[in-house]
């Protein structure tokens, strides 16, 4: 009797179909993930003329990216690991990378969707309109920024086995990043004393800061400069380090 090993592309297509169906069935949580950045956009309407449209849009996108990468991705893979769904897939004749790639593609789709929704809401409610180049570059940068947070999510899921602890850790990191962002933003407009420059620099080059300054500049491509190139390289480096540690330490079962 001949054994049949389906092509990796066939297996990946089947996994994608199942993962997108799962995403569709969880559409309430998708809506909630899209809601937070849009609440920011709407409530920060008065800030647009002071801080600028790109600042407000970038803040909305980066908070959405964090929610998807840190909370959505991490919690979904931890849940499936705990339920033994990955183990059931791993005993099938498919390369294990297809299982993870399918999950990541679904999250990248979510990131693109989020960016699009933020653009639409930003235009409708805050009147923020970017150039065509700005929209294209922002999609690219959102992709890179999303990868940073997905890889960070992978790192947390790789290092922590217990689903409850993963949940608590992602919330803590999310909160820390929000605080870092807020601190960075406050530091731009106020005197922080002697420690100010150091703290500002830390906030600036944190995963939150790098993604945000990239996003902000991508919306006005003419303003893209050396600082943004460094932030882009730092983001790629963050993604590589987080992914390498997260994949190396990833356990397929929670027991």
């Amino acid at each position: 009797m001949e054994t049949t090993i389906p092509k990796s592309s066939t297996a990946l297509a089947a996994l994608l179909r199942a993962d997108f169906t799962t995403l569709f069935r969880n559409r309430r949580s998708v809506v909630l993930a899209l809601l937070v950045p849009n609440i920011i956009l709407i409530s920060w309407k008065g800030l647009v003329k002071h801080a600028g449209g790109p600042f407000v849009l970038a803040t909305g996108v980066v908070i959405g990216l964090m929610a998807i990468g840190l909370m959505g991705y991490t919690i979904s893979i931890t849940r499936d690991r705990d339920k033994g769904i990955f183990q059931r897939l791993r005993v099938a004749p498919l390369p294990t990378w297809t299982i993870m790639l399918s999950r990541i593609i679904v999250q990248l789709f979510m990131i693109m969707l989020l960016t699009l929704v933020v653009f639409v809401v930003g235009y409708q409610f805050d009147g923020i309109l970017l150039s065509t180049g700005g929209y294209i570059l922002t999609f690219f940068v959102a992709f890179i920024g999303g990868a940073v947070y997905l890889c960070l999510g992978q790192l947390i899921a790789g290092l922590v086995k217990n689903p409850e602890t993963v949940n608590a850790t992602t919330r803590l990191v999310y909160f820390l990043f929000m605080m870092t962002g807020m601190f960075g933003d406050i530091a731009q407009f106020s005197d922080m004393g002697k420690l100010g420059p150091y703290l500002t620099s830390m906030a600036h080059w944190s995963p939150y800061g790098c993604v945000k300054i990239m996003l902000q500049a991508s919306m006005e491509p003419a303003k893209w400069g050396h600082d943004n190139n460094v932030a882009l390289m730092a983001s790629v480096a963050y993604a590589i380090v987080f992914a390498a540690v997260g994949i190396k330490n990833f356990k397929w079962e929670s027991r």
Partner: protein
């Protein structure tokens, strides 16, 4: 027939599995023949699941070799996996997917064409025609087991691995599952199952291996094992109703102490 019986579908030789300092499986060897239901019995923590996980490719074993339908699981893992069907201890599919979507997913993964006719045929076979749109999480325990078993055999594998398949099932569902397992054997497949139920081992297994502390301590048919140890003083001492059963032999061989 004798020639066919001699052909093994699974051959495990000198298998050792270690988790850090813990030696879970120590030099285990056995084989499963074509058209045979082979039971792996043992107390909790005896090494049954570690042995099964090594065959399934879920655990990296330290030493030994595992051949499934002529394919070495280390050298050709995908070929070996394609030759086997697996039902894990806890049924585990995406809870958001319905029965038809699960069948489609695993059909594609195992390279089986799943058109509407084929899906209807499968649903009819497992008595879930009316539950096809139900999500996996909405099915009863018995229905979940049936879906899980059909997924394990969807690609007509040479070897079917079942990890405690009847745990948590009521007597009716258990009997039905036994019939399905025997049906797998009748179609010429080999079945390796782990169980805590001596009744199950006696009812469906052609041969059994008793595993304890990571080692195989006895291999034979259930009846031969009873006959072999019938006059053993330890077996007689643990016997409860005068009649020697497989459970008496099992307890005599593995001890009375409750395992964690």
């Amino acid at each position: 027939m004798a020639e066919q019986q001699d052909k093994y579908i699974l051959k495990v030789e000198g298998l050792s599995v270690e988790y850090g300092p813990v030696k879970a499986v120590k030099n285990v060897s056995f084989d499963v023949l074509q058209g045979e239901i082979f039971g792996l019995l043992g107390p909790n923590g005896a090494g049954k699941t570690s042995t099964l996980s090594s065959i399934e490719g879920l655990v990296k074993f330290k030493t030994g070799s595992i051949i499934v339908d002529g394919q070495d699981v280390r050298q050709k893992p995908l070929h070996a996996k394609a030759a086997m069907g697996v039902q894990l201890q806890s049924t585990s599919f995406q809870p958001e997917l319905n029965v038809v979507e699960i069948l489609r997913l695993f059909g594609s993964i195992y390279g089986v064409q799943m058109d509407k006719g084929k899906i209807q045929e499968i649903l009819k076979e497992i008595g879930l025609e009316d539950a096809s749109a139900k999500k996996f999480s909405q099915l009863s325990g018995g229905q979940q087991q049936r879906v899980s078993l059909i997924i394990a055999t969807i690609h007509n594998p040479r070897l079917v691995l079942l990890d405690e398949p009847t745990t948590g099932l009521d007597p009716q569902a258990r009997r039905q599952l036994w019939e399905r397992i025997e049906g797998i054997r009748e179609r010429g497949h080999a079945v390796l199952l782990t169980t805590h139920s001596m009744e199950e081992a006696e009812a469906v297994c052609d041969r059994i291996a008793i595993v304890d502390h990571g080692q195989v301590i006895a291999i034979d048919t259930p009846q031969n094992m009873i006959d072999k140890y019938r006059n053993d003083p330890e077996v007689i001492a643990v016997s409860r109703r005068g009649k020697i059963t497989l459970e008496d032999v099992f307890i005599a061989l593995t001890g009375r102490a409750v395992r964690a």
